[in-house]
Symmetry: C2
Subunit: 431 residues, 2 copies
């Protein structure tokens, strides 16, 4: 509470904005001093309310804005996203934990569990095995799947976009199965990279509005008659600074909790269920054959051949060649994010970055988290961090944690004095 | 906004809780993208409200709690504590700045000035010289001053407590003048140390409820017939874990915006005006002579003489002997705060610490700020920081800023592996 909770709140806001599952367990004052609003250190101001919700921005940004659907991002009630361990009933406390963790999994948003000091030691009763924590989403309705499939069958120049909310809502496996069956020309957004298999013959490059490789925007936006848009998150840096223009009547958008087919909304559908339903039901013999348009190959710039120094246009594609299947690659906000959009990743890479929230200093602790997870899971592959000396200074302490935990599988690449990405970011926000 | 604003919010909450003047200037997105809730990087969630008030805890903790006066801490409206530089009128924008800065000075609370990107370059018109920024408080009413003075004249065993809100509300000079005239037995609280001249013959030691030096609690709480209580902030670590028990009928409490004389409240009085009024009007010939009670001398513990290692009970009084008049001494949360309560400071020392909010990592950036201020003011004396290796890790980056700024007058003392204070803190909150 107080100092610890507020020190962590920027990270929580990042998880909220990027739709990343995060469980924040907060130790608090005991319930007796809470009741009399005692001025205990780490509380806020006079007559302190020890339970003041500091994550007020959640409610503020979840409210319905007229004319703009928020169905694809369900408003999360305080009760669902935060639980206080203060029931005297042992089973009740475990049910609260269960409810909060389930909300985390279902919404892919951060949640809080508050544990007052007098409730640290009391035991809980585990919920019955008949009440699993992770409830799979309900299957998508067959007529809805048929509607989408008939659109796919009748398309002549379909395109697929793969965006970040696919992986954030745990639909990566289902998406890959579907892509392998459809084999339509496929692009990632900057935030969606590494979800699609980038070495597959149907994969092209990054679609980032008008700042994509030459020819890509025209191919996606103009030459297509159908765009299957998986898990879009339409922030500025993920849409070429809002230069993405795809007509609504050619879009089939699969949002985490809503399907939109050429402007018609079907709320309450889970992205994982929709992609699984499509992959299971598709009759590949009915799909159009779409030849690979060779005109979309990445450009080889003359400057890269003639230049004796390392150039931005050269280095990032080499980072893509350096990483291997099974690796986790983490790109820091700014330069690395913009550069890595140009890279082509190997199959089965996990690319972690925070493009919408873009909090400088994010990448190093994210690298720590990935390395811990890889170690605990006994998973093969390296954890590769690309950051800068400026970003590093915000969270450099976590290098100490890496050493303490004996994480030996981490590669850090820290170019010095690269500020280009930060400048580009600032310009884009000028509006 | 967003990432920067939330990264700083723990520091802002500390200033709010400790009543420290802080001006947070926040650069934001341009007004055009704000109007359409554009998803610009660093914003929060979908359909982002770019102006969501993240400092929601201010309103939450300022609300009136029945039966507990908040008059001494005026609720601060959003309009008074935050200003948006979005008026098209040049004079209006400077008036907004003026209003916000005046609120900061009057309330000693943090304030925000938000500058959208399209309002960074437009010039403002300075307010008229007839409208000064810092308006001195209205003089305290003469009958009120007389009421307090007659209490002081008729007391037989008066005691004075000096607490942190004296200096936070810029009444240190007035308090010192008054203390020098009254010459009553005087004690500091842990948070109030260095406001009173600790080498004055009337000064004794730290009063911290029942965990003061032997004899102090009985002298202050039981043997007194009047306690003049200057700028109290009654948090746990400033009251010996809420063991302070002084009968309301013997208390004259001078709060920042309220005077309470033996239970009777006089709201709307400024602490600075009250102390100035008392110092100006007191007739010292009418004051009681109070002999210095020698029984209250600090104890010399046998362990300090026999021990070959450095002991907690020995070291902190030596730190008090080490610092010199004109120095600024900064004590980190935990061990240093508890220990420095035992030290006796030289005259004209400034002691900075954050005992109520107690955010670990506070002291090093506070030291940086003090060193910058001393350099800019051309003020004599050193800046002495006492912290620990654990605390240092939270904000160690600011050592780099010190080096960059060429601050050569800083002494840092960093004992390694001292965790006692943190443990004591945690126990106190168990409630």
């Amino acid at each position: 509470m107080g100092v610890g909770e507020l020190s962590a709140i920027n990270g929580v806001a990042g998880a909220y904005t990027e739709q990343v599952k995060l469980i924040h367990i907060v130790g608090t004052t005991g319930t007796a001093v809470q009741k009399r609003n005692a001025m205990i250190h780490h509380c806020l101001g006079p007559n302190p309310d020890h339970r003041v919700r500091k994550m007020a921005f959640v409610r503020a940004t979840s409210r319905l804005i007229p004319g703009r659907s928020t169905k694809r991002y369900p408003p999360t009630s305080a009760q669902r996203t935060a639980g206080w361990m203060t029931s005297i009933l042992r089973l009740r406390r475990s049910i609260i934990i269960q409810r909060v963790l389930r909300t985390c999994l279902e919404t892919s948003l951060p949640v809080y569990i508050f544990v007052p000091m007098d409730f640290v030691h009391p035991l809980v009763i585990p919920p019955a095995p008949s009440q699993p924590l992770d409830v799979p989403p309900a299957a998508a309705a067959a007529p809805l799947i048929e509607t989408v499939l008939s659109e796919l069958y009748s398309a002549r120049s379909p395109v697929i976009l793969v965006d970040a909310l696919v992986s954030r809502h745990r639909a990566t496996r289902e998406a890959r199965q579907l892509l392998d069956k459809l084999r339509f020309p496929t692009f990632s957004t900057p935030m969606g990279k590494s979800i699609a298999n980038e070495s597959a013959p149907y994969f092209h490059s990054t679609y980032n509005g008008k700042v994509s490789f030459p020819g890509v925007a025209a191919f996606v936006e103009d030459a297509s008659d159908l765009v299957l848009d998986l898990g879009p998150i339409l922030s500025d840096s993920n849409t070429g600074g809002h230069t993405r223009t795809i007509a609504a009547e050619k879009l089939i958008s699969v949002h985490p909790h809503e399907l939109v087919v050429r402007g018609k909304s079907f709320p309450g559908t889970s992205i994982r269920a929709v992609l699984a339903g499509l992959a299971a039901a598709v009759d590949t013999s009915k799909l159009p054959e779409v030849p690979r348009p060779d005109v979309l190959s990445p450009p080889e710039l003359e400057v890269d051949v003639a230049e004796e120094a390392i150039t931005q246009s050269w280095i990032w594609r080499r980072v893509g060649e350096f990483v291997r299947p099974g690796d986790v690659l983490i790109g820091e906000a700014g330069t690395a994010q913009f550069g890595l959009s140009d890279a082509e990743f190997p199959e089965n890479l996990t690319y972690l970055t925070q493009i919408y929230y873009g909090s400088i200093g994010y990448a190093l602790p994210a690298c720590l988290g990935a390395a811990v997870a890889k170690k605990e899971l006994g998973s093969e592959g390296r954890v590769v961090l690309v950051t800068g000396d400026g970003s590093l200074q915000l969270t450099a302490q976590e290098v100490g944690t890496m050493v303490k935990l004996g994480l030996e599988n981490v590669l850090m690449w820290v170019p010095v004095n690269w500020g280009g990405g930060q400048r580009q970011s600032a310009d884009a926000a000028a509006g």
